[in-house]
Assembly symmetry: C3
Homo-oligomer: 440 residues x 3
C-alpha cells in the first residue's frame, strides 16, 4: 500500500458538506478542523480489504440493511446468492422511507464525494449509475489510497480477533486493537477455547494456564503495535474479581456462561492491560440478539437502565489502567461526563452506535465539554467497516463540534479563534495520540 | 351531525398562534401543515358529547384541576354540587400560578379562538365573560360542527370501553378503538367479568371461554370499524405468555391481579390483534394513583426506570402485529427511536402526557427524525376529552415540527420546500392513514 | 460584621460577564435580574469564616482539587503541610487541562471581579499576582462586607450540623438550616449518638427518647431562626415508617446502619418538620465514596437509576410538609418537574452539583418552566462554601434564565417585558421567600 502525502478533498467547497454549519465562525472552525488529518481510534476495518470493492460493500453496512428491513424489505434479498446489484437496488428501493436519517446522509455524501453523484437525493433510478461508478472506481488498484487521501485519514484503529496473526499490513497505519468479547462471552462456543490454545501454544485448562494464555495474547498484540484492548458489554455487566479456584471450577465444569467466568476472565484482561500498559476500551450497554429475526448485525438493542456505578470497583482497583468508555445511550452520558470528571483513569470516548446521531452527539458533547477536563475526552471514532465511511461520519461530527465550539467558546469570548481550534484539535486527535501512546 | 367542507380558521393570522415560529421558513412550513386536515389517532372523545357544553367541560380537564390543586386549590371546589361557574372561577383564580405552562397556553388559545377572548392573559375578572361566551356558543346545535370546521379536524380516534355498543355515531369520523386496560388490570373489579360476559354472550369461566370472549369483542369492534386496540401499562410490565392451564387456575381462584393473569390475557389480546389485523397501541410507563389525594385523573405519575427491552419477546413473537408505542418520559425516547429503527413492527407514536411539553417534544421529535425511518413515526395525537383541545394541541406540535423541519431539513438543504412539507404531512397524517388502514 | 446598603458591582459592564447572553432582550432581562438582591436558599457557608482568607480557600473548593486530580495532579500536593501558595500553583498548573469547564469559568470570574485580574485566561505565571492580590484584599477587615456588597447577596442559608450552637452570627442574614445526614446515616459513628445526647440534654437510648431529642433539636433550631431541615440521600433510598419497637431494637443491638434505622429516624425527622412547620430539603441521588482515592469531597458520584416514585409514600403521608427536592442528574429532572406539577407539597429546587452545568440547567429549567406551576420552583442556590462563589454561580444561572425567559416568554409574546422580569424574580427569590417563610 502506497500512501502519498494526503491532499484531502476540499470538503468545504462541496455543496453537500457545509450546509449544517450555523454561521461563519462555525465555518471557519470547521475548515480548520477538516485540515487536521484524521486519527480514528475505533473501527472495524479489515486491513486486507479496507476499502469497498463494490456498492454492495457500502450498502451492505448494517445501518442500511436494518433500516430497509425495518421499512419492510424482505431479508431474502440479502442472501448470499442474490447478485450484488439486485441487493443494492432493493435497499435503495426502500431508501425513500429513511432519507430523513443521518445514516442516509452518510450514504449521500459517499455517493457525492466518491462516486461522482451530482444529485441531492438518491432514488432507485440512480442505482445503475452508482453501481457502475463504484465498479469502475473501486476496481482501481489505488482506490484505497484515493479514499484515504480524499478523507485525510492518517491512522485507523482496528478491532482484531484474539487469534488474528496481525500480519500483512502496516501496523503503524492500521493499528491493532485486541477485541476480547469472544473470550469473555463465548469461551465455550465458536471453538474459542481451542483457538486460544492454538494461537498461544498453551491449551487453557485452568486459571493458571488462562493467565499464561492472556499474557501470550497481550505479548503478541503489543509486539505487533497494538495500542488498545477493547470489549463490548451488556447493560447488566458488573465487573468483579473471581478467584482462581472458582475459575478452575469453571474449566472443570465447562461452565463458561456464568458470571463467575465472565467476571473472572474480564478481570484478568484488566490485569493484563495494567501489566502491558494498554488502555481498555469499554463499550457499555448493548444487548445482543434482541430482534431475533433481524438482519446480520441488525439485531442488537439495549436497556437504558445501566449505570457506571457498576464499574466503580474496576476503576478503583486499576488506577493505572486508562478506561476509554463508550456508552450506548444519551441517558448514560451525564454519568460518563461525571465519572471522567472525577476518576483520573476514565476517558469519555466517542459517540457510539445508537448515540451516533446529531441530536445526541450535540447534547452529549456539550455536556462533556462544559463539565469534564478537555484532556479526558476523545471526541469521535468512526466504528466503520469500510474506509469510505470515515469521511461522512467524521464530517458529521466535525460540523456539530464546530457549531458547539463557535457558540460555547468563541462567541462567548471564552476562547480566541486560535484557542478554539486548538481545543477542537485536542478533542479530535490530540487526546487520542496521548492516551493511546501513539507518539512512540 | 352535519359537517360542511372544512374551512378552517386561518390560524396564521391570529395573534396568538405563530409567535413560537423561529423564522420565515418555519412560518411557510407551518402554514402548509395547518392546511392539512387533522387525523387524530388517539383521543378520549365521547362521540355522543364530543364538544364542550360549558366552560366547566374545558377547565374540568385534569390538566387544569391538577395544576390548580398543586398550587393550593382545595379539592372541595371540584365537588359535583359546586356550580360550574364557581368551579371555573376557583380554577382561574389559581391560574396566575401556572400561566407559565404549556397547559395554560392551550386554554388561552381556546379562549382566543373559540370564545372571542381578546386579551393576552386570563385573570379572574375574565371569568364572567368566558363563562357567558361559552354558554352562548356551546348552546348552539352546530357547536360541534363549528369546532370541527375551525379546527380542520377530519377523523378522530376514540378510546372505547370493551362493552361500548359503538352505536349512534358516525364510525368513519369518530373511529372506534378497543381500550383493554380494564380486562388486563381490573378483571376482578368493576363488574368487568360480568360485563364481558354480557357484551359477548359468553360467560368467561376459563381460558377457552376467554378466547371466545376476546374473539367476540374483536369481531364486534372490527365490524364497527375499529382501527386499533389500545392499553396503558405500568413501568414494570413485562409481557410473557401464560399457559391456558395457568389461566384456568386464575379463574378457579378468582386471581385476577397476578402477573400470570395480566400477562396471559395481554398476550391473548396481542393474538387477537394478529388475527384481526389491528395495530396495538401500547402506552408504556404510567403508575396509577401515586398521589393518593389528587384530583380526578390527577393522581398518576411514573417511574423513569423502565425499558422497551421488556417488550422484546412480544415484538419478536408477533411480527405481523404493528405496535404503536407511546412512552411517558423523554428518557425512554431514545429507546423508542432505536427500537422503531430496528423492529419492523414498532412505530413511535406521539408525545404522551408528561412528555407532551414543548422542550420534550422538540428533543424527542428530532431524535426520531434523525435516526428512524420517516414511515415508522406517527407525529402526534391529541389525547383530548373535548374537541376544543384538538386545535391548540396540534398547533403546539405543528409549530415545533415546523421549526425542526425548517432547521434540520430545509435550511440544511437536505430537502426542498416541497419535500419538507411532504415529510411533515407524512408525519402528521400519512403514516396514520397507512398504519391504521384508513384508506379502506 | 457591618453591611452597608448593597451597591452591587455593575456586572453587565464587565467584559467577562454578558458574553453568554443570546441577544438584546436577554441582556435587558439579565440586567433586571442582576439588580435583584440574591437570596441563596442553600449553601455550606461557615458564618464565622464566610469569606475566603486566601486563594487557597478559593482553589481548595473540591471542584478544583478534583478536576486537577482527575487531570493527573498528585493528591500529596493537597496535604495540610504543603504551603498554600504551592498548593494553589499546583492546581493552576493543571488548569489548562480544564479551562473548558463551567467550573473554571467561575474561578476566572472571581479573579476578574474580586482579584483585579485583567486577563482572559489564567496560567501558572498568574499565580503570584493572584495569590498576592488575594492576600492583600482578603486581609481587610471589610472583605466579607465587600464581597457581599459586590455580589448583591442579601440572605444566605447555611447547612448546620445538628449540634451547632448557632451562635455568634446574625441568623437573619445567615439563616440556619438543620442538616440531618449524620443522624440518619452515621448514628453509630463519629460520636453522633453522644453528641445528640449532649446537645439536647437527653441521652437517646430508645425510640421515645429519640423523639424527645429530635423535638429538642427542632426547638433549638427554630428558636434560632432556622428555616429548613435538609438531608442528602443515596439513589436507592426509599422512605418508609419504622415502628418504635423496631427502633428500640436498633438501639438495643447498636444497629444504626440498617434500613430500619435509616427509614425510622428519617420518618421522625419528617414528622418533626410537620410539627415545626419547616420545609424539608431532600437532595436525592448521591453515592458517597465511589472513587475511593479521590480528593477530599471529590469521591462522590451516583447511579442514574433512581426515581421519585420511591418518595411517593412520604409525599402522601405528609401533605403539610413542603419538600424542596434537588436531583443529581438531568435524567431525573422530568420526574421532578412532573411530581411538582402533581403533588402540592413538592417543589423543584435548584440545580445540584453534577447538574449545575449550563447544558443541564438550560434543559432542566425549560422543562420545569413549561410544565410545572411557576410558584412551585426555586430557581437556584449556590451550594457554596465560600462567599466569593455566589456571584459567578448566580451569574451563570441568571444568564441561562435570561436566555430562556427571552426566548420562551418574551419573544413568543406570552409575556410582556415586565411580566417576564416578574417571572424571573419569582423564580430567583419570590418563591424562596414564600416557601421558607422569610417574611416573618
Amino acid at each position: 500500500m502506497i500512501l502519498s502525502t494526503p491532499e484531502p478533498y476540499n470538503q468545504c467547497c462541496h455543496t453537500g458538506v457545509n450546509k449544517m454549519l450555523a454561521d461563519n465562525t462555525s465555518k471557519e472552525i470547521y475548515q480548520a478542523l477538516v485540515d487536521i488529518p484524521i486519527l480514528d481510534p475505533h473501527s472495524h476495518i479489515n486491513p486486507h480489504a479496507a476499502a469497498s470493492k463494490s456498492l454492495e460493500d457500502i450498502l451492505g453496512y448494517h445501518y442500511y440493511t436494518e433500516l430497509a428491513h425495518s421499512c419492510g424489505m424482505d431479508k431474502k434479498f440479502l442472501a448470499a446468492e442474490i447478485p450484488g446489484q439486485e441487493k443494492v437496488l432493493e435497499i435503495i428501493r426502500h431508501m425513500n422511507q429513511f432519507d430523513n436519517t443521518a445514516q442516509y446522509s452518510w450514504f449521500l455524501e459517499i455517493a457525492q464525494v466518491f462516486l461522482d453523484f451530482k444529485g441531492d437525493r438518491i432514488t432507485p433510478k440512480d442505482t445503475d449509475f452508482l453501481w457502475t461508478s463504484a465498479q469502475k472506481k473501486m476496481a482501481s488498484s489505488t482506490w484505497e489510497a484515493q479514499v484515504l487521501k480524499t478523507s485525510n485519514l492518517e491512522k485507523i484503529f482496528l478491532t482484531n480477533d484474539f487469534d488474528d496473526p496481525l500480519e500483512g499490513f502496516d501496523t503503524t497505519f492500521y493499528i491493532p486493537c485486541l477485541r476480547t468479547d469472544e473470550l469473555v462471552f463465548h469461551f465455550g462456543r465458536n471453538n474459542v477455547q481451542n483457538r486460544l490454545g492454538k494461537t498461544t501454544g498453551i491449551n487453557p485448562g485452568n486459571a493458571a494456564e488462562l493467565d499464561k494464555c492472556i499474557n501470550g495474547l497481550f505479548k503478541h498484540f503489543c509486539n505487533k503495535g497494538a495500542k488498545a484492548c477493547a470489549i463490548s458489554l451488556p447493560p447488566d455487566f458488573s465487573p468483579a474479581k473471581s478467584s482462581n479456584s472458582d475459575l478452575d471450577q469453571c474449566f472443570k465444569n465447562g461452565d463458561f456462561d456464568s458470571n463467575i467466568w465472565k467476571n473472572g476472565i474480564f478481570w484478568k484482561l484488566a490485569e493484563a492491560c495494567s501489566q502491558w500498559k494498554l488502555p481498555f476500551d469499554l463499550m457499555i450497554g448493548v444487548n445482543r440478539n434482541v430482534y431475533e429475526n433481524g438482519v446480520y448485525q441488525g439485531k442488537d438493542l439495549y436497556d437504558q437502565r445501566t449505570s457506571l456505578i457498576q464499574y466503580a470497583p474496576l476503576f478503583n482497583f486499576f488506577p493505572d489502567v486508562t478506561f476509554c468508555i463508550s456508552v450506548l445511550t444519551s441517558n448514560q452520558n451525564q454519568e460518563l461526563s461525571s465519572y471522567s470528571w472525577i476518576f483520573p483513569n476514565v476517558i469519555a470516548h466517542g459517540h457510539w452506535w445508537y448515540s451516533n446521531i446529531p441530536v445526541h452527539i450535540e447534547q452529549d458533547t456539550r455536556a462533556r465539554m462544559q463539565a469534564s477536563p478537555k484532556t479526558k475526552q476523545i471526541g469521535y471514532y468512526s466504528d466503520m467497516y469500510k474506509l469510505e465511511f470515515g469521511l461522512p461520519k467524521f464530517n458529521m461530527y466535525r460540523k456539530i463540534l464546530s457549531n458547539i465550539l463557535a457558540r460555547d467558546f468563541l462567541q462567548t469570548k471564552k476562547h480566541t479563534l486560535e484557542e478554539t481550534i486548538a481545543l477542537g484539535k485536542l478533542i479530535l486527535r490530540g487526546n487520542s495520540e496521548r492516551i493511546f501512546n501513539l507518539q512512540n
